[in-house]
Amino acid sequence: MLRYLLSQSASLLITMLLVIAMVFFGMRLLPGDPAQIRAGLDATPQQVESTRRALGLDRPLAGQFVAYLGGLLQGDLGRSWRQNQPVTVIIASRLPVTLLLAGCAYLLSLLLGFGLGILAGSLPGSGWDRLVRGYTTVGLSFPEFWIAFLLILVFSVNLGWFPLLGYPADAPLPTRLMHLALPALTLALPRSAQLARLTRALLIGERTADYVRTARSKGLSVLAVTRHITVNTLPGTFPLAALELGGLLTGVIIAEQVFSLPGLGQLLLGAIGARDYAIVQGITLLAILVFTAVNWLADLAQAAADPRIRYS
């Protein structure tokens, strides 16, 4: 296991380096001269040159990359050319909304996904099963922003249960949660559909196992048998649950745009529009880091929970 962990970490490190290089050099392919942008359009060539030196952009690309890597190791994501602040500070100021939104959405998608999946998987062929199967197919067929449109129309406009748009950052938590309810539901619906689909399939596959027949024949109740099956199959959903979290990292961009929430997604879109590449790069790397770590943890958790999986 230790050897597996070591070799796995080494390969993860190589992948991460490759990704960082791709993002770094990809950003350099973008049109526009950052030094010119930073110095202003009416700057003299001398001013542009001195800005270029100050930003370190006069050095060879490879040197810039090494310096960037060195900064990353110290938790330095660079400075925003537009706001003249460290990227980490800017990201940290936007993080709370996005974290709360992603957390709520994830919790909702797990509850809905596992709940519906277990319901359908333990009663295959029933009316419930059909309903859930319909939900899992339809739920994956519509873009998130359109689902958001529907939720806004039904719950904000017609029923008036939830506020329409915006986010009062200084309001008490219950008020803020009311503002995040529809965005979170928007993100949770398609993800829960995918999770429910897999949970159902795993549960149905497990029903034919010998121990299930034994449990049934000795008279265990349906509920108890379902519990045994569920405990045995849930680790199989960990990898997908991790992937879903990754999808959430970009899903929040859509949700924040539809509902006008001042989070990381809005920051990213604004930075793309303003060609503020340090921020784009910083958010991208953060998302990739979180995603990679979560995937890795999910693999470990699956191995820890399921003794049949042994890495070597």
């Binding site: 992948t15 950003m27 339809v138 067929s141 922003f145 959430l248 970009t250 745009q257 991208t284 995603f291």
Partner: protein
């Protein structure tokens, strides 16, 4: 259950037909602005109403379907071709090519959700070709891993060993013994990837990073409808349903193919 894939095929044929013939048959122009009829409700003249510039929404949905479906299809084929070739070249043999391609694919898969598509579009710029390229790049690792995995297990089978013992070269084994076995799984994957691409393309357009307006795509039509969502909801409902039904058709076909090619997954 067996009827659902046929429903999916029916839906897809309907959408393909509408996208192919619709813009020719429907008399209204998708670009003509009519400031006397902004935000008009559905009527015989404009069955889906008009948008923020008084353009006929039905005409835009029909022409947009041609563009959106074309982008999703082209990107799927591109990803399929790249992934298939890469997967066959690597073959999971632990060669240098295999190592490099696997690393590259892992790196691309490290980008969560549609972040990779977003970044590639930002680098390449707005436009149909750029969107196709970005989608194709993001989809390639999926087909690559599938192909590589299957190629690896098929190359280890006894009939391949027997063929090799009889003197079959790699150039003969790959197309004759490996490729036919890949057909089913790749088709299943392609249908669901195409559905996902449709949604991602719409999301890109919604964020203003897809094909630039005034060219209609389903995403652009929905983006135009957003500003008047609370007062003219039909402008968003119709095009969204068309997009969703198309994606649904692709899902149903993908599920049907999966049942057909892999009876265990039922």
């Amino acid at each position: 259950m067996r009827r659902l894939p046929w429903l999916g095929i029916g839906l897809l044929l309907l959408m393909a037909l509408a996208a192919a013939l619709g813009p020719e048959l429907w008399s209204q122009d998708a670009y003509r602005q009519n400031y006397a009829r902004l935000y008009a409700a559905p009527s015989p003249e404009n069955p889906l109403g008009t948008d923020n510039l008084g353009r006929d929404v039905l005409a835009r949905v029909l022409l947009g379907g041609r563009i959106s479906l074309g982008i999703a299809l082209a990107a799927t084929l591109g990803a399929l071709a790249l992934g298939l070739v890469g997967g066959l070249v690597s073959g999971g043999r632990g060669s240098v090519a295999d190592l490099v391609l696997t690393r590259l694919s892992d790196a691309l898969l490290a980008f969560p959700g549609f972040l990779l598509v977003l970044l590639v579009v930002v680098i390449l710029g707005n436009g149909a070709l750029q969107t196709i390229a970005a989608l194709a790049i993001s989809g390639t690792p999926l087909f690559f891993r599938l192909t590589r995995g299957y190629a690896r297990s098929i190359l280890a089978t006894e009939y391949v060993t027997a063929a090799a013992a009889l003197g079959a070269t790699r150039a003969r084994i790959l197309p004759r013994h490996v490729l036919p076995n890949l057909f089913g799984p790749l088709l299943v994957q392609a249908a669901s990837v195409c559905a996902a691409f449709l949604l991602v393309e719409a999301s890109l357009s919604f964020l203003g990073l897809g094909v630039a307006p005034p060219t209609p795509t389903w995403g652009n039509v929905l983006q135009d409808a957003r500003a008047m969502l609370t007062r003219q909801p039909w402008a968003a409902l119709g095009p969204g349903l068309v997009l969703g039904i198309t994606a649904l058709g692709l899902q149903l076909v993908s599920d049907g193919l999966r049942d057909r090619f892999d009876p265990r997954a039922r």
